[in-house]
Symmetry: D2
Subunit: 184 residues, 4 copies
């Protein structure tokens, strides 16, 4: 249900909403990341993708899962600017952090993160594991049961990582009950 790990490009964000601090991929290490790429005037995003992202954020609020929205505008640029997005987020009561993808270079209508991930369109759901690796990318509607299972598999990996991390910290950099040591 997951793909072989490959590097996940960091997102390039012009502006963040619903968060004081930028949420770069490197800051999310240790957490399972569910990235929802959408456009505010995309019917499939509004009807299915965004509600799914909202339910995900609510249901996994106690787990190490980060839901991040990404506004990947590739059409109707003039009417989906930050002010329009802000009104949209307010009216739809979207609470998770949402970044605005940086416009494409040299007249490219596709914004940069969308281009870096080679997304086919919106909505696109991207799953990134706790080590920051891309594990699944789905264009269009994605079944709740499958998304849930993929999150569950990645949570299990994250937990294993966390346990092994405790060991590596004990023998390398980091702190144990006995004290703190620098990396060997």
């Amino acid at each position: 249900m997951l793909d072989a790990p490959r590097p996940a490009p960091d997102w390039q964000v012009a502006r963040w909403f619903n968060t004081d601090a930028p949420r770069s991929l490197s800051h999310l290490r240790g957490r399972v990341v569910v990235l929802h790429a959408f456009q505010m005037l995309c019917p499939g995003c509004v009807a299915r993708g965004i509600p799914q992202a909202q339910r995900t954020a609510e249901l996994f609020a106690q787990a190490p899962v980060a839901v991040i929205g990404l506004h990947t505008v590739f059409e109707h640029h003039e009417v989906m600017g930050p002010a329009a997005l802000e009104a949209f987020l307010h009216e739809y009561r979207i609470r998770f952090p949402v970044g605005v993808d940086v416009p494409g270079e040299h007249g490219d209508p596709i914004p940069r993160t969308m281009r870096a991930y080679a997304m086919r369109g919106t909505p696109t759901t991207v799953l990134i594991d706790a080590e920051g690796r891309l594990r699944k990318q789905v264009f269009g509607a994605h079944e709740d049961l499958l998304l849930g299972a993929q999150i569950g598999l990645l949570l299990a990996e994250a937990e294993g990582l966390s346990k092994r991390g405790a060991v590596s910290r004990a023998t390398g950099a980091g702190c144990t009950d006995s004290g703190c040591t620098p990396a060997a």
Copy 2:
């Protein structure tokens, strides 16, 4: 299920979409009019009101029923202008005529038709009979079964009117199988 008839104010429209000719109330005499007032960034409109208006337009395409959309922007004016609406109508594949309500006077955030009808918000569904009279105004979600029944009642009235009209046309202005005559 219908209210006592009262005059229906004509709408004041700055610009029309999905129609070459303006659709004023006087041009719709003889037809049952279903007016759907909405805002493109209103979740209840997008999830329920507009799909209902679309189903109404499709299911009653062969009947003397006119579905008219009215974009009654009373908030976020700067991001719900005509260009944004045009992109919205395109993406949501809305085919029925949609008018943009004229902005309110003297800084009134409520646009003029919305003010004239004393609408409480969006979505608002207005039913106007074949004689151009206001017969029902509903704010918020409106049951398909009830909307259907109200349209059916008004269609029955329109048919009765048409029969009586045929008589009056035969004896007054209009055309019969025998020929055309000017109004007495």
Copy 3:
């Protein structure tokens, strides 16, 4: 939206639920009748037809509309008997009157009312006007908006009938403000 009137056969009912008195068609004269033929083990009936009948009964509770259920068992007869139906009506909280169609004659698996109406299967929705005439018969899913409109058209006819009936009553059998008279 309605068909040309034709005689509606009365139903043949072995047993009634949710009513003390049998509801024959003749007793329902003056009311618009929505007859919902179903089987308790028919998925389309349970998911769509019966909930629509329940909404119809609730939404038109104040109008001269009678919703009647008819259990037209044409398969799995041995497990859809009256005791099973009674448990089903209880668990699904169905409140409108439901009759059990009389089994077919001479080994006919199709029960008698279903046969008399030439229904193709379940669910089937039948609309009968206030004069007891069959005006529409729909097999399978039926749009709420269209069912509503058909009910509205028949309600308008019933109202016209009632007005004309008031005149006939005034000059024939019945009661007026002046008193009651026998039929001439």
Copy 4:
């Protein structure tokens, strides 16, 4: 999202449908088991629980996940017998194995497996890990996203178990690329 492991009682089944061989818990070792307890006349089961079980069976068909239905009749016993259940499974096109819970002892209306699991009612979803241990039991509606995540977590455990099992097999009973050996 999962509970601490505790022993899962095996089910007591009077009769199986949709399978030639009984599916006891011991035969399902190594697989994640999703047990759906339902009654055919339970509206919440028909509207939500059973469709969820069907989607689960379809979406995880390629994974080591076993979906098992259990007909836990605790009311209306006389109309929810095996013949009625068989017609129900046929009409609703339910394909996963379904067992009939053995009736309660000494007049107990609660059947035995339902009693052994202390289920509160129907629908109840039970998750059992690949080692045959009870890990979650949910009464009523269960979110697809959460059910999916719980299945994912248990699949990850099963995979780890399988890897460790491969090691133990290499050093004990079982086959490797080099050949097969009896248990030490």
